[in-house]
């Protein structure tokens, strides 16, 4: 390149340098984006391959169906959690909200039919989410404390609602939703894909999504540019509640019988898939696709360990090691790319 330099004017040189640096930055961005979206993909593929290779019956149609349905129910709750974490919040109440939505849905299904039951369940979820949202925006309670409190309150409410007894769902039609399939794909999975697609679109392509990123990525900037931060927060919590509601309805359909103690500890699982999926707890961009893949990953791990008949003590160890392993790959990958980017000459 040195030969040509002599013939170039200063301005051209400046422009050329700018182009080069722009090109460099563009490439770096591409890689970063690729990485952000593919972080969980590598562990996912590894677990998938290992599962197929060594776990008996892993790919049997019944197991595949089970994994897809379980992943779907978790993923749907994960979407809402992704959104809340993206706006720098957290929702610890999803498990309790899901239980309440599922139990109310079950009893309404028994009294007013499956359709109304499902709808009421989702609305209950959304209502509980709105409660969280109002506590955060209007009462200015930090999300962690607000949802820690409602986690307890909602659990109490569902126990009071059920009196601690299980509710058996009579409607075969309602119970069939979880086991039915559309074009060979389990219905809950189809729902999860559609919901995920919708959520992805809202986050990536819609004004709401830009505002979510702004509120989570730089709250000061969001306030200063005149974004209605409270509205964004309220919506995020509301959607998280509604997702828990949808998950609750599907869970009720899957289990056919629900009681006040279902879905305990769901919050930890939901947050885990969100973080595994590449959404940072620090807020900013939410990675819906990552959450979806991580839900599949977790479903595969859980089912694989059971299929291998790993005793429960060892399951704890295995799950722990797998989580660490999954993210250490991610860390190593990131470090490698960073080295690559820095070592790049132009």
């Amino acid at each position: 390149m040195t030969e040509t330099v002599t013939t170039l004017t200063a301005e051209e040189l400046v422009a050329a340098e700018r182009d080069r640096s722009a090109e460099r930055a563009r490439r770096a961005d591409q890689r970063r984006r690729l990485l952000q979206n593919s972080g969980v993909l590598v562990p996912f593929l590894i677990v998938l391959v290992v599962g197929v290779a060594v776990v008996p019956n892993f790919v049997s149609s019944s197991n595949v169906t089970n994994m897809l349905v379980n992943a779907a129910i978790l993923a749907i709750v994960g979407y809402g959690m992704t959104l809340v974490i993206a706006v720098r919040g957290i929702d610890l109440s999803v498990g309790s909200a899901q239980a309440l939505a599922a139990c109310v849905a079950a009893s309404v299904v028994n009294s007013a039919g499956p359709f109304v039951g499902a709808l009421v369940g989702i609305l209950v979820g959304a209502g509980l989410g709105a409660v969280n949202g109002l506590l955060v925006t209007q009462a200015r309670v930090p999300g962690f404390i607000a949802t820690l409190s409602t986690m307890s309150v909602f659990r109490g409410l569902v126990l009071l609602f059920t009196g601690g007894a299980p509710i058996m769902i009579a409607s075969a039609g309602f119970k069939d939703v979880a086991t039915s399939s559309l074009l060979g794909v389990p219905t809950p999975f189809v729902i999860a894909v559609l919901a995920g697609g919708g959520m992805w679109f809202a986050l990536e392509r819609m004004r709401f999504g830009k505002h979510v990123v702004a509120v989570g990525g730089s709250p000061e900037a969001a306030v200063d540019t005149g974004i209605g931060v409270n509205r964004v927060l309220l919506r995020a919590y509301l959607i998280a509640g509604a997702s828990a509601g949808v998950g609750g309805v599907l869970l009720a359909s899957q289990l056919g019988v629900v009681n006040g103690s279902i879905s305990t500890g769901l919050e930890l699982q939901a947050i885990a898939i969100v973080v595994l999926g590449g959404t940072s707890m620090a807020g900013g961009r939410g990675n819906i696709v990552g959450t979806f893949v991580a839900a599949l990953l977790l479903a595969m791990i859980n089912s694989g360990l059971n299929l291998l008949n790993v005793p429960s003590f060892y399951q704890y160890v295995a799950l722990g090691l797998l989580l660490i392993f999954a993210l250490s790959i991610d860390g190593a990958q990131r470090a490698a790319v960073r080295r690559m980017l820095e070592g790049r000459h132009s």
């Binding site: 040195t2 330099v5 002599t6 200063a10 040189l13 400046v14 050329a16 340098e17 700018r18 080069r20 640096s21 722009a22 460099r24 930055a25 563009r26 770096a28 961005d29 392509r205 819609m206 004004r207 709401f208 999504g209 830009k210 990123v213 702004a214 990525g217 730089s218 000061e220 900037a221 969001a222 306030v223 200063d224 540019t225 005149g226 974004i227 209605g228 900013g284 961009r285 820095e342 070592g343 790049r344 000459h345 132009s346």
Partner: protein
């Protein structure tokens, strides 16, 4: 001619500080009003009030004859005020285009029109002479580019009043010239413009009127034509300015080399670097954005790991794989990105200044633990020396004005006890009075034997303090100016590549 914007008796207070003490001001259509004052005088506070980001304790704002009560920035924008704020209000995860249209997205039914957003952004940036790709995330931009995005964002709104808070702090000469042209054009179109800068020549170049804030009060409001620079400075400081006379340590070739860089290959930069800095010498690094200056200082601080070459400190070869290692070898660096790479927002100003303090020279009693009394005294000294405007040492650094934050960070560097000090844009956002103080401090440091490297895009600054100046262009050294040759013209000339041809004959 009636005023577009009238500010009446605005008072703003923070815990322990009365930032505005009843300021009244008006500005007319087609007028460019320069707003100047020392760091912490209240300029940005006034602008935050006008932008609706803060509600004043008292006072009123009238826009086109209509009294306004802004409850959020959305209100202010809707009324026709557009602001370029001093601290960037950008969302790093979003693209350039999305940042420009943040808060007033171009949408149909809630869906962002990506094509239009991109083309409109590109247009706005082109108008500013930038060919930034609109899709790049802001996190990948240099500070200068982000400054341009901030300006483009303000221009993307419809407004009657444009307020620019130090818009040129991170811009280079050519970019500043282009911005001035735009400001003039907007004024001709009848917009009212408020322009804040610490570069007084800018004020004289484009402002019709100047308003001077001192300590929260308006102390002068005059046509620019009635003022000259010394008088303006006197208004700002309330005293005669001290001047800085640079005495070059010049031909101190006899003194030993403290920092020697040989063929240092820096990631992302075309050619390896080589340079020497002597004990007591102030070396300037000049060059446009992309010239590799930042990369060089980062590499010397172990923040970018070099791919080859040798760095010696006091004749000893050192390995620099982390900033920690660099510090241990007596090197310290101040980043140009104050907000994301400088301040520790949850820590108070004293701690911010003391974090990197060299404790080796302290007596044992003050070495093991950071003693409050000792550190407070040290900070008080720093505060007086550098005229840091802060009510007390326990104030959080985020609550300081931009220039005062910069001074605290500079204090951090001074206390690091290093033998090689790398300063990036050390006086960005610092007022004229304090600049002189800082130059003197840098000089004192050099006199104590520190090898100082100052990387700056402010040519007059380098001309003022550098004993020697190396100019880079596109990752290559194109000139080395010494002694009397270190002048503004020479630096600017070399920077834009006039000497590029010479440098590439081989």
């Amino acid at each position: 001619m009636t005023a577009v914007l009238q500010v009446e008796d605005v008072v703003q207070e923070y815990p322990g500080v009365r930032a505005l003490k009843g300021v009244s001001l008006d500005i007319h259509a087609g007028q460019v009003l320069g707003l100047v004052g020392e760091n912490g005088a209240g300029k940005s506070t006034l602008i935050r009030v006008l932008g609706g980001i803060e509600q004043p304790v008292r006072g009123s704002v009238t826009l086109k004859g209509v009294p306004q009560r802004f409850r959020s920035s959305a209100d202010s924008q809707a009324a026709g005020i557009s602001v370029v704020s001093q601290e960037f209000r950008q969302v790093p995860q979003l693209s350039v285009a999305d940042n420009i249209f943040l808060g007033h997205e171009l949408t149909t039914g809630g869906v962002v029109q990506r094509g239009r957003t991109r083309t409109r952004s590109t247009e706005l940036l082109e108008q500013l002479g930038m060919d930034l790709e609109a899709d790049r995330p802001v996190s990948s931009l240099t500070v200068g580019d982000r400054q341009m995005v901030e300006i483009a964002r303000a221009l993307s709104r419809t407004f009657d009043v444009l307020i620019m808070d130090e818009p040129t702090a991170a811009l280079n000469g050519a970019e500043i010239t282009r911005l001035h042209a735009i400001v003039r054009r907007l004024a001709q179109q009848g917009k009212a413009i408020v322009y804040v800068s610490h570069h007084l020549e800018e004020i004289f170049a484009i402002c019709d009127d100047v308003a001077v804030l001192r300590d929260g009060e308006l102390v002068a409001r005059q046509p620019t034509s009635e003022l000259d620079e010394p008088r303006l400075v006197e208004h700002m400081l309330g005293r005669k300015p001290t001047t800085y006379e640079h005495v070059s340590t010049g031909e101190g070739e006899a003194t030993d080399v403290r920092l020697a860089v040989r063929e240092l290959q820096v990631p992302g930069v075309a050619e390896p670097f080589s340079l020497d800095v002597r004990r007591g010498e102030v070396l300037g690094l000049a060059g446009l954005v992309g010239s590799g200056r930042t990369e060089l200082t980062r590499a010397l601080f172990g923040d970018l790991v070099g791919l080859g070459g040798v760095v010696e400190v006091d004749g000893k070869a050192v390995r620099l794989r982390s900033s920690r290692e660099a510090v241990r070898h007596g090197i310290f660096m101040l980043s140009e990105d104050r907000k994301s790479e400088g301040i520790l927002p949850h820590l108070d100003v004293t701690e911010n200044a003391m974090v990197s303090r060299d404790r080796r020279s302290l007596p044992w009693s003050r070495r093991v633990l950071p003693l409050r009394r000792d550190e407070s005294a040290e900070f008080a000294r720093l505060r007086d020396e550098m005229r840091i405007r802060v009510p007390h040492g326990r104030q959080l650094i985020g609550n300081l004005s931009g220039g005062n934050q910069q001074k605290v960070l500079l204090g951090r560097a001074l206390l690091s006890g290093c033998s090689v000090l790398l300063l990036n844009e050390p006086t960005r956002g610092v007022d004229v009075g304090a600049k002189v103080d800082i130059y003197q401090l840098v000089k004192q440091l050099a006199d104590r034997g520190v090898a100082v490297v100052v990387s700056s895009s402010d040519a007059p600054e380098l001309a003022a303090i550098a004993d020697r100046c190396v100019v880079y262009f596109a990752g290559r050294q194109v000139a080395e100016l010494r002694g009397r040759d270190v002048t503004e013209e020479n630096i600017v000339g070399a920077s834009v590549g006039q000497t590029a041809q010479e440098g590439s004959h081989d």
